[in-house]
Structure formats: structure tokens, C-alpha cells
Symmetry: C2
Subunit: 492 residues, 2 copies
């Protein structure tokens, strides 16, 4: 019998990993040189053909010992590298080397967070990260915060864990909680699910026309009624229109769920959160805030105030693979009242039998809709702890400053129109006098030539080029080069 | 302004990663030595306290440059290491060093599979992997396979891509497809969603009492009716009972979805797939097979025949983080008729505007319910290509042989009862004359002492200890030691 290939953990793990990691680093380097720009040139068919040539038969009868090198090289050559300053289309951040290295340990040890006996240490690490971030979200008192209602059902073990009992303090104070998700999309799904389970399958989502597409998609997924879309003429949810909609739709408390956005995908704008929170309180309506993009401002002393009102939400989506510089996935759903999570409780005897729970084995299954689950909390914890609030805040400030610098460049350039000064790190701009078709064409030309990755957004009825600046190493020269590229490639 | 921390990609990426990876490898090694066994000792409270001590404040104001080392060390010390032969409770595999190293490249480059301009090469790599695995699943002709129905709606671009048009062949032949998921749980959710969208929200899930908990949970998630549970008295779905249920429930075609299991979580058993497929054909009922565990047998010449009937399913869940030796996540949902996937089509102008799709930019958004999405296909591709069908098949054979060796040891030991000879790699056993409470107690004692990680399963009305053998490096000595440990720790 032949010797099986090496495992990533166990006593030989680190030793076996070292030469393979050397291969990966060399292949990443070679692939990036072969690409020679922010993305591969030639467009979709040419890129696909090169990948197919490099891979050959992906499942041959006999193995190929050089596959690691060839495939990683092909991935790198075929990448849109978010660390390249001209790759700036999407909320697609360049990950920190630190977070990426930490993530290797998660892969090697492979703890799975569906039961304590697969992840004894990782479970506690996740608890520390989620509690810290939930505290950060709900630190400020919410405008309509009321004392928690007395217990109607006995506390679950998890609930007990997040409750502080102080004999002098009256009713127990419950600490906010958070679940780790695959990203804002799953966080939005979970927020809708918690609302559905609290208030019934008739609960109706009310969201702005500026909301992320995953919100109506989640309503479809969960079998909820067709959402109500409130106008967002200036790119943010209009409170007057929201008030009208809530008045028109009014039913029993909980029949509606309002979703607001802190950091829109198209323009990086923040809905008027205090106004929306006040309306939700007045209409006794549940509030979810999708802060997948803007939530990172929590760590910035300079920008944190833009999130005033966030703490009034029942649930908040965060995404540390945007501001946070994590490799995908690093999503969270922060939940103000941890009792809301009881509906996710789920029994599977092999993972959380009653007698095991009674004997003190933690029950992790209700922390996710997934079963096997990777500890994304490790890379997040390493990043938070290594940089601290100040270090992460500086990164946020830096990319927001870069966006302002780019906006200024656009503003001062006679050949370009600027949509608006950036609220976060998104800049919308367009060559003056170009048509929408020209705008779409220049974006595709730069993509096809492998010269720049820019996004697109429709605002005010016109198509704009979008630069989402998430790279803390982008310099003024890069921004000037980006503008020059667009100028030189716009059809005349 | 201070220099921002290093990024994982860009020209400096590999250089910046190298010392950090050295730190990770050293910390993994130190942590494993400090643990000194398959899992940390002392039980949940003690393990949690050690992690809290090692981490301190996870979000301090000022950063801590040693956090990477400390946190990775804490994770390793607190791990239940699946590469330890005595860590054998769950479908929790020890990942290959190869797959783990490849996954680092995915983290470093951070391609996100929701749009081509974030993942030009990764998108093609994923297509190659999913096509190859879908072909593997649906290679054998299904018993009730009928020629595909003529198109009722014009093909979508994706549909065209997976259709081969041969002028002599009559109607076009459609190649099966597969979606990458976070695991069997998401695959099962998607299978139910495809059934719901094809046949309406009244579609009722019919599953065995032996099915994975994620199946009824998915029905709840998607707002479907309460599932019908068919008895599985011997651990596999009883075809006579299924026939009765399908006859009793009969409605219009598509009103039911049968879910069968190839590799149950409790006992590693395979439902009688050919019988079930024939019943589904006779009753014109859609069939999903959860092969999250057993699907790996496809790559084994010796065991592949156990999966006869698999190709008759409409959808099949696979999980390469079980047999497949990938770090979590590495799930797939294979889909026989790619037209079923059209219901996942979804428009978000910033990711797949109509004019971009018309100009040839691939539309990836309909390949998942997630938006940002990590290329788990890379580690899978590297593993398939490096080992080939023969190398992976050998690993499957090896762990199945190990399970047979362990079952023989149990069988020959007068102090133990064996549940049944293993079908895959799961062995259920119990100390003779022990009570169920004793069984539960010895498992918890071994966990708390940090000496072995065993699972549990209730079969035939009794509680059994469960060894799920997934480690190709486990040796006969390890198995003897495991049995001795249980013997020495069973309450008398």
C-alpha cells in the first residue's frame, strides 16, 4: 500500500506544509508577473482558454505532482488583484497578509463549529470575537431602547451565558450577540428569518430602492411576501416616503421589517439612520440595518459619528471582508436582544444531545444555519488584536482620505463630472459629454485590455463609473493614472 | 501617516506572507505540543478559560504585534485535531497539506465569485471542477432516464454554455452541472429550493428517519410544509414504507420531493438507491440524494458500485470536506438537468447588467445564493489533479479498510458488541453489558480528559459509541489503543 499524502495537522503537519507553502508563494509570484497588471488581458474567452490550457484534465486517472504549482500560478495569472491600485470596482478588498496567514491555521486544523468536540478552542475564540463586535455595534444607547421584558420562557443555556445578573440592577441585562456568516447576504437572510420567526411568515420587508439586492432575494428565499420598495431619489432612503409607507401599511406590531443601509453598494451612502430609527420606534416596527460596507466606520474616531442610530437596530449586518481587510468570508449579524436567537435552536442528537448539554457540553448548532463551519473568527481575531481599534481605524480613515483625494482630482479635471463628494470610499464619476453607452464601453474596454477594473452605477438616471477605494496603499499617482486611463479610452 | 500593514497580494504579497507563515507554522507546532493529545484536557470551562487568558482583550485600543503567534497557538492548543487517530467522532476529516496550502492562495488573492471582474480565472477553474464532478455523479445512465423535453423557453446564456448541439443527435444533450456550496447543509437547502421553484411552495419533502437534520431544517427555512418522515428501522430508508407513503400522498407530479441518503451520519449506511429511484420514477416524484458522506465512493473502483442509482437523482449533495480531505468548506450540489438552475438567475446591475452580459461578460450571480464567495474550487482542483482518481480512490479504500479492521477488532473482543459490519467508514460499538448512561458517560469522560474524541448514535433503541474513520494514517495499533481506552474508562 502506498504512503498516503501528508496531512496538514498532526505532528508532521507544519513540516509537511512548509515546502508546499513555498511552492504556493513562488506560483503566486510567477502568476502575478505573467499577468503584469490589475487583471489578465484578452477578455473572458481568452482568460478561460488560458486557464483550461494550464489545468488540462482536472480529474485525471493518474495524478500530476506539479498540479499545485500549475493551478496556483493559473489562478494568480487569471486574478483581478485587489491589491493593485487600478483594481477598484467593487467592495472587493485586498486582504491583509496577517489575516491571510492566520486563515492558514484555520484550514490546517479544520475545526468545525457545529459541535464543541470538533472545535473546543475555536468555539471560545468565536464567542470572544462576536461579543466584542456586538458590543461595538450596540455601544451607544438606542433612541427607543426600553428595558428588556421579563422572561416569558426559561432561559436557554446560551441565553444564560449572555446575561449578567446583578442583584441590585433589577431585571437582568442581556448582552448583545452576533453570529458569524458568509457575508452580508447571509446576514440579511438571517435578519429576515429572525423577523419571520418572531412575527410570522406574513412579515413584510420594507426597504429602500437603494438597498442591496440580497434583501429582496432573502424575502423570496424565505417565502415572505413581496417587499415594499421605498423611493431613494438621492441614493438614500427618504424618511418622508418611509413614514408614508409605514402609515399606509400599518398592521399589528411586527408585521413589517424595515431595512436601512449604512453604506450603499452603488454610492457608499448612509441612510438617515436616526430618522429611520425614530420612525420605526413610532410605528413599532422592527429595524434591520445593512452595514456590510459602512459598519467598518465603527472603528474610526473620525467617522464613527456617521453611524449614529445604528444601535437602535434590532439586527445589523457587518462584513469584515470589506472595511476589515479579511479574505472572504468574514460576515456577521449582530443582534441586539440575544433572545431573538432562540428560534435558531435546533436538535441533532449526534451534535447536541440533551444529556450532553446537561453535562455542560456547549451547544453550538443554533449559532448558524450551516452545519460544518470554518472558524472565520480566527483571522478576524488576529486582525483586531494585532492592529487594535486604532490601527484598524487608521486604515478606514486612510481609504476614506484616498477617496476624497480622488474625488478632488475628478472635480478639478475639466474632462470629468463628479457625482458627489464621497461619504465613505466610493467615488462616482464620468467623462463629461460621454453617453451612457460610452461609459459602459470604456469600462469593458479597460477590463478586456487588462488595464483597470472599474465598477458602474446608475444614479440620477445616468450611468457612472464607480471606484470603490479599499486599498490603503493606493497613492495619488495611482489615482492620476486611473483618470488618465479612462480619459484615453473613452470613445469619442 | 504610518505605513499600513502589508497586503497578501500585489508585488510584495508573497514576500510579506513568508515570515507570517513561519510564525503560523511555529505556533501550530507549539500549540499541538502543549495540547499533547487529540483534544485539550479539562473540559469546556477549562478550555474556554485558557483561550480567554491567551487572547485577553480581543479588540484593544492599541494593537499587539504578537497576536498572530498567541492566537494561533491558542487555537492549536485548543483544537480537536482530526489528524490524531483518536479524534474520530464526526465526519470531520484531517485535511491534506496539499489542499490546505492551495487554500492559502485563495485567501491571498481573494477572488470573489459573484462577478467575472473579481474572479476572471477562478470562475473558469470553478466551471472545470463543477463540470468534472457533475459528470462523475451522473456518468451512469439513470434507470428512468428519458430524453430531455423540448425547450419551452428560450435558453439562458448559461444554459447555452452547458448544451452540446450535434446536428445528428436530435434534441440537444444537456450536460449536468454543479454548484459550489458551504457543505451538505447548503446543498440540501438548494435542492429543496430548486424543487420549490419548479413545483411551487406546496412541495412536500419525504425523507427517511435516518436523514440528516439539515433536510427538515431546510424545509422550515424555505417555508415548505412539514416533511413526511418515512421509517428507517434498520438505519436505511424502507422502500415498502416509502411506496406506501408515496401512494398515500399522491398528488400532481412534483408535489413531493423524496430525499434519500448515501452515507448516513449515524451509521454510514446507504439507502437502497435503485429501489428508491424506481419508486420515484413510478410515482413521478423528484429525487434528491444526500451523498455528502458516501459521494466520495465515486472515486473508488472497489466501492463505486455501492452508489448504483445515484445518477437517477435530480440533485445530489456532495461534500469534499468529508471523503475528499479538504478543509471546510468544500460542498457541491450536482444537478442533472442544468435548466433547473435557471430559477437562481438574479439581476444586480453592478454585477451583471444586461449590456455587460450581451457584450460577453459571464454572469456568475446565479451560481449561488451567496454574493461574495471564496473560490473553494481551487483547493478541490489542486487535490483532484495532484492525486487523480486513483490516488483519491486509494484514500477512500484505505479508510474503509481501516474501519473494517476496527470492526473486526471489536467483533473479536469479548468485552464489546459491534453494531454491524461497516458499509463505509463508520463503526458503531459498545462495551457489552454497559447501560446507555454508561456509554454517554465514557464518551464524555474521554472528551473531558482530552484522551479521545468519539461520537454517539442511537440505533435499535440503544446508544452506541461511534468511530467515524476518515484518517488515512490511522494504524492498527491506534485502533487497539482506542478500544483499550474505552474499556478502561467505562463505568462499572
Amino acid at each position: 500500500m502506498s504512503t498516503p499524502p501528508s496531512l496538514a495537522s498532526g505532528p508532521e503537519g507544519p513540516h509537511a506544509l512548509r515546502p508546499l507553502l513555498d511552492t504556493v508563494l513562488a506560483a503566486l509570484d510567477e502568476g502575478a508577473r505573467a499577468r503584469g497588471g490589475p487583471l489578465p488581458s484578452g477578455g473572458p474567452d481568452a482568460v478561460a482558454a488560458r486557464v483550461r490550457d494550464a489545468v488540462g484534465d482536472v480529474l485525471p486517472d493518474q495524478g500530476d505532482p506539479n498540479a499545485l504549482h500549475h493551478l496556483v500560478r493559473a489562478l494568480a495569472e487569471g486574478a483581478a488583484d485587489p491589491a493593485d491600485p487600478l483594481c477598484t470596482a467593487h467592495l472587493h478588498c485586498p486582504p491583509l497578509a496577517l489575516a491571510t496567514a492566520a486563515d492558514l491555521a484555520a484550514s490546517a486544523l479544520n475545526p468545525s463549529l457545529d459541535s464543541w468536540d470538533q472545535a473546543p478552542g475555536a468555539a471560545e475564540l468565536e464567542a470572544l470575537v462576536t461579543e466584542a463586535l456586538a458590543r461595538e455595534v450596540f455601544a451607544a444607547p438606542a433612541p427607543h431602547e426600553t428595558p428588556p421584558a421579563p422572561h416569558e420562557t426559561p432561559p436557554t443555556p446560551h441565553e444564560t451565558a449572555v446575561t449578567t445578573r446583578d442583584p441590585q440592577a433589577g431585571p437582568p441585562r442581556r448582552h448583545p450577540s452576533a453570529l458569524v456568516t458568509t457575508g452580508g447576504t447571509e446576514s440579511n437572510q438571517l435578519a429576515l428569518l429572525l423577523a419571520r420567526e418572531a412575527h410570522g411568515a406574513g412579515v413584510r420587508l420594507v426597504h429602500g430602492a437603494n438597498a442591496h439586492h440580497s434583501l429582496p432575494r432573502a424575502a423570496w428565499l424565505l417565502g415572505l411576501p413581496e417587499p415594499v420598495v421605498v423611493p431613494a431619489p438621492a441614493g438614500t432612503l427618504d424618511p418622508v416616503a418611509l413614514d408614508e409607507a409605514l402609515t399606509r401599511l400599518s398592521g399589528p406590531p411586527g408585521s413589517l421589517l424595515v431595512a436601512a443601509t449604512a453604506g450603499t453598494t452603488d454610492a457608499g451612502l448612509i441612510d438617515p439612520l436616526p430618522d429611520i430609527a425614530a420612525l420605526c420606534a413610532a410605528h413599532r416596527t422592527r429595524l434591520h440595518i445593512d452595514a456590510a460596507y459602512g459598519g467598518g466606520l465603527l472603528l474610526s474616531d473620525r467617522y464613527r459619528d456617521l453611524l449614529t442610530g445604528l444601535a437602535a437596530a434590532d439586527t445589523v449586518a457587518l462584513d469584515l471582508h470589506k472595511f476589515g481587510w479579511q479574505p472572504v468570508a468574514a460576515g456577521l449579524l449582530a443582534v441586539r436582544d440575544p433572545r431573538d436567537l432562540a428560534v435558531l435552536h435546533h436538535r441533532a442528537d449526534y451534535l447536541n444531545a440533551d444529556d450532553d448539554a446537561e453535562a455542560g457540553l456547549p451547544d453550538l448548532l443554533g449559532r448558524s444555519l450551516r452545519t460544518s463551519r470554518r472558524p472565520d473568527a480566527l483571522k478576524i481575531a488576529v486582525t483586531l488584536k494585532t492592529l487594535g481599534r486604532s490601527g484598524l481605524g487608521r486604515l478606514v480613515d486612510q481609504v476614506c482620505d484616498t477617496a476624497r483625494a480622488f474625488a478632488a482630482l475628478v472635480h478639478d479635471h475639466p474632462g470629468f463630472d463628479l457625482y458627489d463628494p464621497p461619504a465613505l470610499s466610493t467615488v462616482l464619476f464620468r467623462p463629461a459629454h460621454a453617453t451612457d453607452d460610452d461609459i459602459a464601453a470604456v469600462r469593458r474596454r479597460l477590463l478586456t485590455d487588462g488595464r483597470a477594473v472599474l465598477g458602474r452605477a446608475r444614479m440620477d438616471g445616468r450611468l457612472w463609473l464607480k471606484a470603490t477605494l479599499l486599498n490603503p496603499r493606493t497613492r495619488p499617482d495611482d489615482l492620476a493614472a486611473l483618470l488618465k486611463l479612462v480619459e484615453g479610452n473613452t470613445p469619442r
